[in-house]
Structures are given as C-alpha cells and as structure tokens.
Amino acid sequence: MFKTKFTIVATALLVTNLCGLAVAAQTPINGTVQSRCIIQTDTAGTYANPNAYTLTTSPTDGGELARIRVDVSLANAYYVEITAPTEFSSSPNLPDVVSWTGDTTVDAVSDATNMGDYETNKVEIGMKDRYDMTATGSTWFKTSSVATMGGSKAFPGGNYTSIVEAECIAQ
C-alpha cells in the first residue's frame, strides 16, 4: 500500500518537474537592439587668451580642445560631420572682423583595425570634416578652434562662446 502511494507521489513529482522544465524551456526572453548613434560630449572645450587678439583652444596656450565621442552600433549606417566654429554664438561687441581657423581629428578609436583609417579617409569641406562610420564602436574626435581679431585689435573683456557642431546622420 505504502509502496503504491510512494510510486504515485514520485510519479506526480516527476511529471510536475518535467512540465516545469518544459515550460521553462519554452519561455522566451525577447529583446530588440536598435541600431543607433550616440553623440557624447567628453569635453566642451575652453578658450585661452595667450595674447590680446587671439582666443585659442590650444592646450599649449592654456586652452582645452573640444572632445566628442560618437558611438555607433551598426556599421556603414552613419556618417559623422563635425564643424569647427566660424562665429561666436555669444560675445561682447567686437571692434573688427574675426578670422577663424579650426580642425577636427580622430583622437582615439575603440577598434584600431577597422577604424584606423577614419582620419585618412575623412572629407574636409571648409571647417566641416566628414567621416564615414564603417565599423561599430566608439570614436573620439578632437576639435580645435582659433579666433583672431582683425588688425591685431584686442578682444574686449567678456565671455565668448562658439559652437562646435557634431552631427550623426543616417546613410
């Protein structure tokens, strides 16, 4: 009698466990990873004023370069355009025309094998540098900016801001 009961209970437990296993095996975990481009500002950049008529982000003069990181999760899906400033977005009244120089370079990449040629393959259109993001991963860009006041006139005292534009455009 006891043996029969034991067998029934054991069988029930076994069946329950098997059912449980079967259910567990059939429970899906769904997830979708969307391709995306993320623009991150590592450093906004700071102007130094090494002489009266120059504002520069050059670290040797005490400035700081703008550093931008772009993460892409799908190869050959985006291009990145980074434009160095060509005007101040805010400044005191200026006594003369300001001339601008600036450049963007690849500072670091997360995958040297597949991203190593980003800098050599970039297309420069004036102050705008265009990069084809042919691999997935992170790329760090550095942008420099130098503003020189015409006629060697002094920049008036005040705060100056210019905009580095970083764009990630789906192809």
Binding site: Q34, C37, I39, Q40, G45, T161, V164, E165, A166, A170
Partner: protein, 132 residues
C-alpha cells in the same frame, strides 16, 4: 594579473568619465498611415544624457536638406537630464515620398565662460513607403 589590472583601470576610466550624450531612435523610421486621413505618422524616441542641455529642436528635411512642414506636440522638446521622450511626427501624404531626414538638435544656453560648446544633432533617415 596584468589583464585584471587593465580591466580595473579601464573600468575606473569609464566610471570617472562622465560623458554626456544625445541619442535618438529609430535610425530608420517608417511612416504609417495615421488615424487622420491624408496624414502619415512616425514615432521617435529621444534620450537626454547631457546635463547642460534641456531642450532639443526637431526638424524634418527632404533629400536636399530643405525643411518639410510637420506637426508634433512641440517643435522644441524639453527633455530633462536622464529622461526619455517619445513623440509622434505627422506629415502630409503629399510629402511622404519627399521626407528623408528627421533630426534633433540640442539647444544650448548662453554661458558665463569663454569656451566652445558642442551642439549635437542626430538625423534619422526615413524609410520610403514600400522600402524594406
């Protein structure tokens, strides 16, 4: 051991670098017929991880980067730091084959410091009707 130290250094570097980010998905939005006849709609989602930016402006463009009229709740969205906003963009049926890019651009505040500021812009490319 060396590998462990490298991982630790990399992790410390990543944690200490408080980068700020701007993100918009999907990369390839699809237009669908909306509940209003003659209007097409797509839904975009933005995430703001830029503490210094609160507002993002939306723009819709054709393949020549000429602006296309659209309707959304706002054209400039307030997206607080570390929050996500999803929004619908409605377009006229006559523009459904012209629309190419949907872009979001960060709006920057005036600063009290002499600096360069980074304006970020992300553009998604609209899949044309009937495209895979």
């Amino acid at each position: 051991m060396k590998k462990l130290i490298s991982i630790f250094v990399l992790a410390a570097f990543l944690i200490s670098n408080t980068a700020s980010a701007h993100e918009m998905v999907p990369t390839y939005p699809v237009l669908k017929q909306s509940y209003v006849d003659g209007l097409y709609v797509t839904t975009m989602t933005m995430f703001n991880k830029r503490p210094e930016v609160e507002y993002y402006e939306i723009g819709v463009y054709d393949s020549n980067w000429d602006p296309i009229d659209f309707v959304s709740n706002y054209k400039i969205w307030k997206i607080p730091y570390l929050s996500t906003v999803s929004f619908d963009i409605y377009l006229r049926a006559e523009d459904k084959y012209k629309v190419t890019y949907i872009c979001s651009r960060s709006k920057l505040r005036k600063s009290e410091k002499s600096r360069t500021a980074v304006s970020s812009r992300i553009c998604s490319k609209v899949k044309k009707i009937g495209e895979d």
